[in-house]
Subunit: 205 residues, 2 copies
């Protein structure tokens, strides 16, 4: 890892490679090639090699990539070789489903606080979490040093929540609301947009 | 719309432009420019112009794009100027949330059938839907001529469900399961991958 700037599109493909590598490992494979890794990731072999070369030399000429080693390297590059504590804001149907979904914790994203502003929900339990009032959100997140948050509030409330999260020291937001968020440049936002994905596919029908 | 092949990456940006145009319309705007449209969509003005030029001449030199007109054109290109009936498979926490979420219907994706294989769920109501047994899924979808489906079953069940959906005549699948689906080439699959989005952001923390 030198100081050079890596294009974001390259970084965005690393989780895809990692997912494919994990599948190969599950299938009992121990080594792979850029061809194989590319095919299963729907990316060309040349692109795989180019992407990985930004970060170092991970394969051996002729023998390909060791799956465990390359997975570890990608986890380390993405800083997901450690766990991340996450705050969830908004316990509607979707927030409820996410708070109970084990998949995030299994990949190292541990939901540690769940917030809502509905007095009938505050204090109730969702899985092992007690729903906390948004009034104490900024303070609670700040004190715990949490930097990752999921927004699952209605669209109209999303910007106000994002503003509070930024104030609380959050650096990365996964936004499930159908709203674009204005945040300072140093804050990362990714939006989950299933409707845009559906619209994209309709072109081909 | 001529017979030329449009790169998929271009098609994938159309829903993003449409979303931005809808925001401008909501804000009371009637015209926009490639610069403005690009800025709010996080895409360069040159790219906006190039993307739209694949489909025709939508703007006037000097006066920009009419927002209503361009929105209509994009909807027509994406074939979302009509409604689409959708089948939902899997009524766990997430499927439950989606079945009750009005956002899909508001964008023209009307969930008309909800399936599950759990005998304790079959026959019960979720919103206005009665949960149907997966045994009658292929037949029901085929008879109704539905071509779009959402998969919200656990990962281990996703491939078997996808196989059945293909058999039923489904052409586009929005896959919420953390599993890659093997489907024939003429079937479109988009995967909702919030965990990959989180992993991507961690690089920057």
């Amino acid at each position: 890892m030198t100081g050079k700037i890596i294009p974001d599109i390259v970084v965005s493909r690393l989780p895809v490679y990692l997912q494919t590598l994990q599948r190969f490992a599950k299938e009992g494979e121990t080594t792979t090639s850029s061809k194989e890794l590319g095919e299963r990731s729907c990316i060309t072999a040349a692109q795989v090699r180019k992407d990985l070369s930004f970060f170092g030399e991970f394969g051996k000429q002729g023998s390909g990539y060791n799956i465990v080693f390359l997975s570890d390297q990608i986890r380390s590059i993405l800083k997901i070789n450690r766990g991340w504590d996450v705050a969830l804001v908004g316990v509607g149907d979707l927030g409820h489903a996410i708070a109970r979904y084990p998949g995030f914790a299994e990949r190292g994203f541990r939901i540690v606080f769940v917030f809502d502003n509905d007095p009938t929900k505050i204090g109730t339990k969702i899985g092992k979490h007690t729903i906390l009032p948004t009034e104490i959100m900024v303070e609670t997140i700040k004190n715990a040093g949490i930097t990752v948050a999921l927004i699952t509030v209605p669209s109209r409330a999303a910007q106000a929540v994002a503003d509070q999260l930024v104030q609380a020291g959050i650096k990365a937001i996964l936004n499930y609301a159908q709203a674009s968020l204005n945040v300072p440049d140093h804050i990362r936002v990714e939006t989950v947009s299933p409707i845009l994905q559906l619209q994209h596919m309709m072109y081909y029908l």
